[in-house]
């Protein structure tokens, strides 16, 4: 088995991972970013919409342009990027098992930053496995990255920002959106996104859920049904919609299998997508030298993922002696301030409260008083 040694290994070349790599590298650490895909950037390259927030968060810039800049910065600062490489495990001595095109590598790291992102939730219903039922992100990848329509007429399940944005992008790509179906009585995402779709004439079915998908070999339609305040279907309220595609925009969950495998302790925060690793204000998990950043620590969005990556990168460089306590504290305070502005407003404040809970649980864990958290 081939042996390698690196100071900082970053797993995942998405917004969080690349940001972490830049920070650690710019401080002077030797950095290697590993990604299983054949191109870096994570899911930023399918984000063709303009980002929100303030100027320091590149508001008004499209996601793929942010990704391009981040990539250029990563290459310019001298961090190495290893693609087509799968990390399959983390040993207690911080050795990673990596497979690169069939070759097995034992990679010894001094610090590991896990930025593995999230995956889309599934929604079971009769017919939900038929070809034509897919994650909204999958449809987004097809239209914006691969320039192929997954279908001609889609029904979107879920009215959060992903559901709204992908519906609009399906229309931009030339597909028809038959309806947006939302179980809750109100729209989940930003009003500005919903307004755009409503003006384009797409009906919203609020307080509805999917009953079944129709079709034998692929989706030919979808039957939706109204639900009561306890989300139970109301018989007799069924409606048939013609569609060849059903997109599921029903949330994401963190991909933190490597952190589980490494032995990290976890919290349970449904608003962040379920089980999330305990971590301190340096993004360091309960395993010394293993950091986590981005959606893997709780599903938010790309801007906060980048800031968490920045924090982890600075903290790892500090721990290796590349930054003094004062230098690191100054950088961390700036990043934390930007994170706090992102976790502001009606949508952000809840996330801020949950993040604070996650940090408090880590403190409790250190003091031996965290007994785990069960679903309320």
């Amino acid at each position: 088995m081939k042996q390698m040694e690196v100071e900082v290994v970053v797993i995942g070349a998405g917004p969080a991972g690349l940001s972490a790599a830049c920070q650690a590298r710019m401080a002077g650490a030797q950095v290697l970013v590993i990604d299983e895909n054949n191109q870096p950037g994570g899911q930023l390259f399918k984000q063709i919409h303009k980002f929100f927030g303030s100027r320091e968060h590149q508001a008004g810039v499209r996601g793929y342009e942010i990704g391009q800049k981040l990539l250029e910065k990563t290459i310019a600062c001298g961090a190495s990027v290893m693609l087509d490489s799968l990390v399959y495990g983390i040993q207690p001595d911080l050795t990673l098992g990596v497979i690169k095109k069939g070759e097995n590598i034992a990679l010894k790291a001094q610090k590991i930053i896990v930025a593995t992102g999230a995956k889309e939730n599934y929604l079971p219903f009769p017919g939900s496995t038929l070809p034509g039922v897919m994650g909204a992100g999958a449809a987004q990848t097809m239209i914006n990255v691969n320039r192929v329509l997954p279908g001609k007429r889609a029904v979107m399940m879920g009215s959060g920002n992903v559901g709204l944005i992908v519906s609009y992008q399906l229309m931009q790509a030339g597909a028809e959106v038959a309806a947006i179906v939302e179980g809750a009585p109100c729209i989940g995402g930003y009003g500005v996104h919903a307004g755009k779709i409503r003006r384009a004439g797409v009906p919203f079915y609020l307080g509805y859920t999917v009953k079944r998908a129709l079709g034998e070999q692929s989706v030919e339609g979808v039957e939706i049904i109204q639900v009561n305040e306890r989300f139970q279907p109301i018989p007799g309220t069924e409606k048939l919609l013609k569609a060849d595609t059903i997109c599921l925009a029903v949330g994401l969950n963190p991909m933190n299998e490597l952190l589980w495998q490494a032995g990290c302790h976890f919290d349970f925060i449904p608003a962040f997508g379920g089980h999330v690793p305990l971590h301190d204000s340096n993004m360091e998990t309960t395993i010394c030298g293993v950091y986590a950043a981005g959606d893997a620590t709780g599903v938010e969005e790309a801007s906060s993922a980048m800031e968490e990556g920045n924090l982890a990168g600075v903290a790892a460089a500090e721990a290796l002696g590349y930054l003094s306590y004062e230098e690191a504290a100054c950088k961390k305070a700036e990043i934390q301030h930007r994170l706090d502005t992102l976790r502001d407003g009606p949508f952000g404040q809840k996330r801020r409260a949950f993040k604070e809970q996650q940090l408090a649980d880590m403190k409790a864990f250190d003091q031996g008083s965290f007994m785990g958290r069960m679903q309320a």
């Binding site: 895909n37 496995t129 990848t141 192929v148 692929s218």
Partner: protein, 108 residues
């Protein structure tokens, strides 16, 4: 099904096309795009069938996480077609059920 004109991304241009084979039938594809994209563009929806009930499956996540898009590519079963780039002359087959266990040579 190809998105040629796009209000944000502009016109799709200068893409080299190659021919791949789906169940021996030639299909035009853009060089380097994922196999799954070429198939969807050609209107092919069923990528594999399940081993017990022989139900059809197609892409679900398109980022290499689920295994719904697995096909036999250049003779290799269980290939995730959403993250496998096409090349000229590639042979893609609908995978029926579970792939047979391949006998591997003992390492010398």
């Amino acid at each position: 099904m190809r998105v040629i004109q796009h209000p944000v991304l502009g016109e799709l241009q200068n893409q080299k096309t190659v021919t791949i084979y789906y169940n021996e039938k030639p299909i035009k594809a853009l060089e380097g795009e994922p196999v799954a994209a070429s198939l969807l563009n050609a209107g092919i929806k069923v990528f594999r069938t399940t081993s017990k009930r022989h139900e059809p499956r197609s892409i679900f996540c398109a980022i290499g996480r689920c295994t719904d898009c697995m096909m036999i590519v250049d003779g290799v079963p269980n290939t995730r077609t959403c993250v496998t780039p096409v090349h000229s002359g590639m042979r893609v087959e609908c995978q029926q059920g579970a792939a047979p266990i391949q006998q591997q040579e003992e390492p010398k």
